[in-house]
C-alpha cells in the first residue's frame, strides 16, 4: 500500500485502466500537453500518445457527444470537464442521448465523465458547484462522489468498467488535502454501496464527498458532549445505498442528512423522504437536513463560508437532534 493524495489516487485509477484496456481513452480540454487543469493526467500523453489522451477543442458538446459515439463504437471514453460546472454545456448529450439510449434503443453507452466539483477556495459561481442532484434525477445516469483516496481509485475503475454513463464527481477541495492508503493493485469499489466512515450509536449523519470530513470534525465535538455520531459515506448518489441508510437510521433513530449542494430539491430531500416513508416508526426525531442555501455559490471567502455548511453548522444541528 502506498499513501496517495485523493488526486494521485484518481490518476492511479485512470492509469491502471488505460494500461490494462486499450479501449480506454481520455478526452478533454488541456488534458494532454498540460496534463489537465489539476494535473490528474500529467505524463499521460507521453505514455499513451496523443490519440488516447486527446486535447479537445473548447467544445463540451463535442467532447461528451463524441465520447458517446466512440462508446457506441466500442471504446471506453473518459471525458473530463475542466470544472463540473461546465457540464451544463453538455447537458443535452448526457441527458438526451447517453442516459436514454439503452432504454430507448437498446444501445448501451459506457462513458465516464469526470467532474471536478465543489467549493471552498473562492472559485465563485462557475467553478464551485456540486450538480450531482440534477443528474441523479435523470433515469439512466449513475453518479459517484468518492470521499477517500481508496474510493477515488476504486470507484473510477468501477465507473470505467460500468456499461452505463457514469458521472464521476471528484471534489477539488479534497485533491491535495486528503491522503490515505491506496492499494497498488487494481481493484473496484462497488457502485451503489455506502461506506461506514465511523460507527456511532446516537445520531446518524448521511453524507458524501467533502462533507464527510466536515461531519467527522463535528462528530469529534459531539463526542466530547458524550454523544456518539455515526457517519455513513454514501459514496454513490445514484444508485444510492438505501438499505445501509435505513439500517443506520433504525440503529440510531436520529438522522442528519448533510450535503454541499443547495437545499431545495437536493439529493438529501430524496434520502429524508425515503427514511420518512420506510423507517418512520424507528425515528425519535424528524430527519434534519443541512445543506447550502438556495443561492449561487458566492465568491468572497466570507460569503462562501456562509454558503458551504461548516463544522459549526453541523455541530449545532447534531446538538439540536441530540436534545430532541
Amino acid at each position: 500500500m502506498a499513501e496517495l493524495t485523493y488526486l494521485q489516487a484518481i490518476s492511479d485509477g485512470l492509469r491502471t485502466e488505460m494500461r490494462r484496456d486499450k479501449r480506454v481513452f481520455l478526452i478533454g480540454e488541456d488534458v494532454g500537453v498540460y496534463g489537465g487543469a489539476f494535473k490528474v493526467s500529467q505524463g499521460f500523453q507521453e505514455e499513451f500518445g496523443p490519440w488516447r489522451v486527446i486535447d479537445a477543442p473548447l467544445a463540451e458538446t463535442a467532447i461528451v457527444g463524441g465520447a458517446t459515439g466512440a462508446a457506441i463504437m466500442g471504446l471506453r471514453p473518459v471525458a473530463e470537464m475542466q470544472f463540473a460546472d461546465f457540464i451544463s454545456c453538455a447537458w443535452d448529450h448526457l441527458v438526451t442521448i447517453a442516459a436514454k439510449q439503452r432504454w430507448r434503443a437498446g444501445t448501451p453507452v459506457p462513458i465516464v465523465v469526470r467532474l471536478p466539483s465543489g467549493g471552498g477556495f473562492s472559485g465563485g459561481p462557475f467553478h464551485s458547484q456540486n450538480p450531482e442532484s440534477s443528474f441523479a434525477h435523470i433515469p439512466g445516469l449513475k453518479c459517484v462522489c468518492p470521499a477517500t483516496p481508496e474510493d477515488a481509485k476504486g470507484l473510477l475503475i468501477s465507473a470505467i468498467e460500468d456499461p452505463n454513463p457514469v458521472l464521476y464527481f471528484e471534489h477539488k477541495h479534497l485533491y491535495r488535502r486528503i491522503k490515505g492508503e491506496v492499494p497498488e493493485e487494481r481493484y473496484t469499489t462497488p457502485i451503489g454501496k455506502a461506506r461506514m466512515h465511523q460507527e456511532g450509536s446516537d445520531i446518524s449523519v448521511i453524507t458524501w464527498g467533502a462533507m464527510v470530513y466536515t461531519a467527522e470534525e463535528a462528530a469529534q465535538q459531539l463526542d466530547a458532549d458524550g454523544v456518539s455520531v455515526e457517519i455513513l459515506d454514501l459514496r454513490t448518489v445514484m444508485p444510492w445505498d438505501k438499505a445501509a441508510v435505513l439500517e443506520s437510521a433504525r440503529k440510531t433513530s436520529k438522522v442528519l442528512v448533510l450535503h454541499e449542494d443547495t437545499r431545495t430539491g437536493g439529493f438529501g430531500a430524496e434520502i429524508a423522504a425515503s427514511i420518512s416513508e420506510e423507517a418512520f416508526e424507528d425515528l425519535d426525531a424528524p430527519v434534519k437536513r443541512i445543506a447550502a442555501p438556495d443561492t449561487p455559490v458566492p465568491f468572497s471567502p466570507v460569503l462562501e463560508k456562509a454558503f458551504i455548511p461548516q463544522v459549526d453548522d453541523v455541530v449545532a444541528g447534531l446538538r439540536e437532534l441530540a436534545a430532541y
Partner: protein
C-alpha cells in the same frame, strides 16, 4: 457568393459505372426509393386510420438524397440518419415491417414501443437511433469517426442534419472537432428549404450551408438532392476521401420538403408555385426517366419492380399488425445496461 463547389448532374451510364454502380445496382437504387416512399405513404394511411399514436413525419422529396448517400456507404460505415432519411434505413436493409411496427409502437419495431416514428435504428446495420434534438446527433457521429481514427480502422461515419439544425452550436462544435482532427467523417445536410415554417434566410446568412465548410478547413459541396446519381457520386467521393485519411466533407443536398413538418401541418407558408416547381423534379420520377433513357429500363422491369414493392409493403403491413403491443410490466427494464449488453460486435 458561393464558396462551396456546386456539383453538376450525372450524365451517362458510363459515368455512373465509373462511380461504382452497375445496372443491377441502379435498379436496386430505384427499388429502394420506391420502398422508401411506399413505406411513408402507407404509414400516412395507418396514421389516418388511427393506428399510429403521436404524430407522423415523412421525407417526401428527400428520397434521392437519403438513398443516394446510403448507397455510397460501405457496410462497415455508420450513420445517424434523421426523420427525413427513411431511405437510409431502407438502403441499409431494415425490413419495412419493422418500420411499420415502430410507427405503431409495437414490440417488433427497433424501439420496441419505447420511442416512435423514425426515432429508431438497427445498430447491427450501422445506424444509431436519432433523438428529437436533431443537431445533437452530429457530435455522436463525430465520436464514431473518432473511434475509427483511434483504432485506425478504414471506416467512415456519416452524420445527417438539416439546414435548421445547422443553426445550433452542435453543428459548429462537431465540424470544428472533425476538421481540426481530420476525422473520417461526412456531414450531410438535407437542405429542404423549411425548418418547420422558417425560411433558410433565417437559419444561415451564407448562400449555402456548405459554404461554411471552408471555415472548418474542409471541402463543402452543394448537390441537387433530387438527383440520386449526383448525390451518390458526391457522397462516394466524400466517403472515399474520408476513408483514405483526407478528412471530412460537408455535402449539402438541396431538396424541398414536399409535405408539412408533420401530419398536422398543411405547410400553408410554402408558396404553391414552389411546390409545383419542385414537383417537376420529383426524385423518383426523375430517376425513372433517367433509367429509361440511359439504362434501357424496360416496361416489364419497371412493372416487376413496382409489383414486388407493392407486394412487400402489403405483407409488411400484415406482419407489423400481428406484432404485439409492449407489455407494461416491462416498463422498468433496461433503464441501466448490464455487462451482457456490451456483448455486441462493437464491444468485443
Amino acid at each position: 457568393m458561393a464558396i462551396a463547389r456546386e456539383a453538376g448532374p450525372v450524365g451517362s451510364i458510363h459515368e455512373v459505372r465509373e462511380a461504382g454502380l452497375d445496372r443491377d445496382d441502379l435498379l436496386g437504387v430505384y427499388r429502394n426509393m420506391l420502398i422508401t416512399r411506399g413505406v411513408e405513404e402507407r404509414g400516412h394511411i395507418l396514421y389516418r386510420q388511427g393506428k399510429i399514436p403521436g404524430s407522423f413525419y415523412t421525407g417526401r422529396g428527400n428520397e434521392a438524397a437519403a438513398v443516394g448517400v446510403a448507397t455510397a456507404m460501405s457496410s462497415e460505415d455508420v450513420g445517424t440518419p434523421l426523420h427525413r432519411d427513411m431511405g437510409v434505413h431502407i438502403t441499409r436493409g431494415v425490413e419495412p415491417w419493422r418500420i411499420f411496427a415502430n410507427y405503431m409502437g409495437r414490440v417488433d419495431g427497433p424501439a420496441r414501443g419505447r420511442d416512435g416514428n423514425v426515432h429508431m435504428a438497427d445498430q447491427q446495420l450501422g445506424m444509431i437511433a436519432m433523438v428529437s434534438h436533431l443537431p445533437a446527433m452530429l457530435p455522436v457521429a463525430v465520436g464514431c469517426a473518432l473511434a475509427f481514427r483511434i483504432r485506425e480502422e478504414p471506416r467512415v461515419a456519416v452524420g445527417w442534419f438539416g439546414e435548421g439544425a445547422s443553426a445550433r452550436g452542435d453543428a459548429h462544435e462537431s465540424m470544428t472537432f472533425a476538421g481540426t482532427r481530420r476525422l473520417p467523417m461526412v456531414f450531410v445536410c438535407d437542405n429542404n428549404q423549411f425548418a418547420y415554417s422558417t425560411l433558410t434566410q433565417y437559419e444561415y446568412a451564407t448562400e449555402h450551408v456548405a459554404d461554411r465548410a471552408q471555415a472548418y478547413g474542409f471541402e463543402g459541396v452543394v448537390v441537387d438532392g433530387t438527383d440520386v446519381l449526383a448525390v451518390y457520386r458526391e457522397a462516394k467521393r466524400a466517403i472515399d476521401k474520408a476513408r483514405a485519411g483526407g478528412g471530412p466533407t460537408l455535402v449539402e443536398c438541396l431538396t424541398l420538403r414536399m409535405e408539412g413538418h408533420a401530419v398536422h401541418d398543411d405547410a400553408f407558408y410554402v408558396p404553391k408555385q414552389m411546390f409545383e416547381k419542385w414537383a417537376e423534379s420529383d426524385p423518383i420520377e426523375r430517376f425513372r426517366t433517367w433509367l429509361r433513357d440511359n439504362a434501357e429500363m424496360t416496361d416489364s422491369e419497371e412493372d416487376d419492380i413496382a409489383a414486388s414493392v407493392k407486394k412487400l409493403l402489403i405483407s409488411s403491413l400484415e406482419r407489423a399488425d400481428e406484432s404485439p403491443q409492449p407489455d407494461p410490466a416491462t416498463l422498468l427494464d433496461g433503464v441501466y445496461a448490464t455487462p451482457e449488453d456490451l456483448d455486441t460486435p462493437h464491444h468485443k
